[in-house]
């Protein structure tokens, strides 16, 4: 089980920037959670902070508990065991996500060599099987090919294969559908749905994709978690005005969209609810920061539901 308790990330420089502000969530074994939100909401930073892969000027506070063990207190050696061995990070399948000078088969099998002591030849052989599992087609040739010969969708599926190659039981995927067309999004969705035993945490700004792969959804806005509940609660009965606006902007809901500007930047000092500037249900009370309310296990940060 992976549990995030009040996790915040601050980048220390001339002026400190808080990129993630007090996020809490529980990933039970085998659960599937999606973090949704617009660009700059802190989703990817939160994911990288779980892997402790942020730049050295990032200060992470709170607790990230892996079966009770705080990852934030793990030393370098323990971190190397966790990364790829227990928790896998699947980056966006863009052109720069794989080493351009190494064959895909080697890169997919690399965690196996590192964590399971498997020889290079054996790891490359197993990587063919993994690529087959995700149905890439002509896998033996693909394993011997270089990443630049792959399409975005193929690269993304190969990255997922890489993520599970050493038997990691928690998979963190960062925007796996970014820049892909509908057909390829369907292929990537199928790839994630083939993972049956692994715990999945996926960051996306694609609500439709989140709905298809996740049981739980966490909505983030301007570095804060504004709503957290099951997928049916979030999609079927959204509580936070931001979530409601986001759902009505989905293509299947007619892409209804009010142009009320963008989320405040990290540098902007917003008093009270961060969505208040764009919220059409804004009240006087919203000038103060709302607490997180629990509505039948459905968590929401909005004054409308605060007792």
């Amino acid at each position: 089980m992976l549990e995030l308790k009040n996790v915040s990330v601050e980048f220390i420089s001339a002026s400190s920037v808080r990129a993630v502000d007090g996020v809490s969530m529980v990933l039970r074994d085998g659960s599937r959670t999606a973090i949704v939100g617009e660009t700059g909401s802190g989703k990817s930073i939160l994911m990288l902070s779980i892997m402790r892969l942020l730049a050295s000027n990032a200060a992470i506070s709170g607790e990230i508990l892996l079966d009770g063990e705080d990852i934030l207190k793990a030393d370098r050696k323990r971190l190397q065991q966790i990364r790829g061995g227990i928790i896998s990070y699947v980056p966006q399948g863009g052109g720069a996500s794989m080493n351009p000078l190494l064959k895909v088969g080697f890169q997919v099998g690399e965690p196996l060599m590192e964590h399971r002591g498997v020889s290079r030849r054996e790891a490359e052989k197993k990587s063919i099987g993994l690529l087959k599992f995700f149905n890439l087609g002509d896998e033996e040739r693909l394993a011997k090919s270089y990443p630049h010969t792959f399409s975005g969708g193929m690269r993304q599926r190969a990255m997922v294969a890489m993520g599970i190659s050493a038997g990691a039981r928690i998979i963190l995927a960062d925007e796996p559908t970014k820049g892909l067309d509908e057909k390829r999004v369907a292929l990537v969705t199928d790839t994630f749905n083939r993972l049956k035993d692994e715990t999945l945490l996926v960051v996306t700004h694609d609500m439709t994709f989140a709905q298809k792969v996740a049981q739980d959804i966490c909505v983030m806005y301007a570095s804060q978690q504004v709503e957290y509940g099951t997928a049916s609660q979030i999609i079927g009965d959204p509580l936070h005005p931001y979530t409601r606006d986001m759902i009505s902007a989905m293509p299947e809901n007619g892409m209804k969209y009010d142009d009320r500007g963008f989320a405040p930047s990290h540098e902007e000092d917003v008093k009270g609810c961060r969505y208040s500037q764009r919220c059409h249900e804004c009240m006087e009370k919203c000038s103060e920061m709302p607490p997180v309310a629990d509505v039948n296990g459905h968590k929401v940060r909005c004054w409308k539901y605060a007792v």
């Binding site: 980056p91 080493n99 351009p100 190494l102 630049h148």
Partner: protein, 329 residues
Amino acid sequence: MLKRIIKKSLIAVLTVFAIVTVSFLMVRFMPGDTLIHLVGADRYYELLEDSPKQLEHIAELYGLNDPLWKQYLKYLKSIVTLDFGIAYSNHLPVLDNVLSCARWTLILSVPTFIIGGFLGAVAGVLAGWKPGGAFDRIMTPVMIFVNTVPTYCIGIIFLVVFAFKNGWFPVNGMTNGTSTGIARILDIMWHAALPLCLLVMFRTAGNFLLMKSNVSQVRSEEYVTTAYSKGLTEKKVLFRHVMKNAMVPYVTSLCMQLGSLLSGSMMLEVIFGWKGMGNLFYSAVNSRDYPTAQLCFMISAVCIVAGTLLSDIVISFIDPRVKDAIDEY
């Protein structure tokens, strides 16, 4: 791939051909009598007064009375037969002069290439891997200083401090001319020590800055984050993922440096009286010894073309993206 290499080689040959042609036309179209450029101004006027017949004979020898196309064919033939004329500085065949100087230049340039290439790469990787660390903070300003200060400034300072004042090294020359066998080798090494030290310093500085920038750039690439996320040790991330990629532009630069092995460092060779190609070219230009300058210029140009061709071929073997682009081309 082979087809592409052949195509690139043909382009290189054509480039060399163009250089040779430009070099031929330059002399013919320079203001004044072409003979002035071929025998030197002093000798030209001397011969014009004392023995115009000999001048006529030289003009006949170079075929200057023939039509231009005939002269050109003759010129091409002389290049193919390695007959580059007589140097009017010492009246010896130009080729003999150049070969003798090339030997001395290689004594300096080959160790510079190897030591400077190695030291620059190692120091650059160390500084680029931990930017802002103690090594980076000390080395970067020093290397920028060495790389930007003109060669002759540091050269003269070295000469004053280590040769004139302390007498640890000879002031100039390549050998004392009397020793033989191992003693001669040691003597040459002693004479080469100062210019070699300086050349290695400059080459290391340039290579350091290039490698440092490559490593700093590569370490922030997404695939390096991916490599860390697999649980790889720092050493494996550095050697397997960062260095491999950072080496691509570095190898290109080394190939280009290989192309300049024979041109020598003009300033340092002049300062240290090292009779290499740089010094030869400098004296040839100064004394208007056109045949010598022409061959030096041609060798330098051919080496650069060869270096570029070599870098194209080597990179296509290292980087599969380049290889595929070449195959598709």
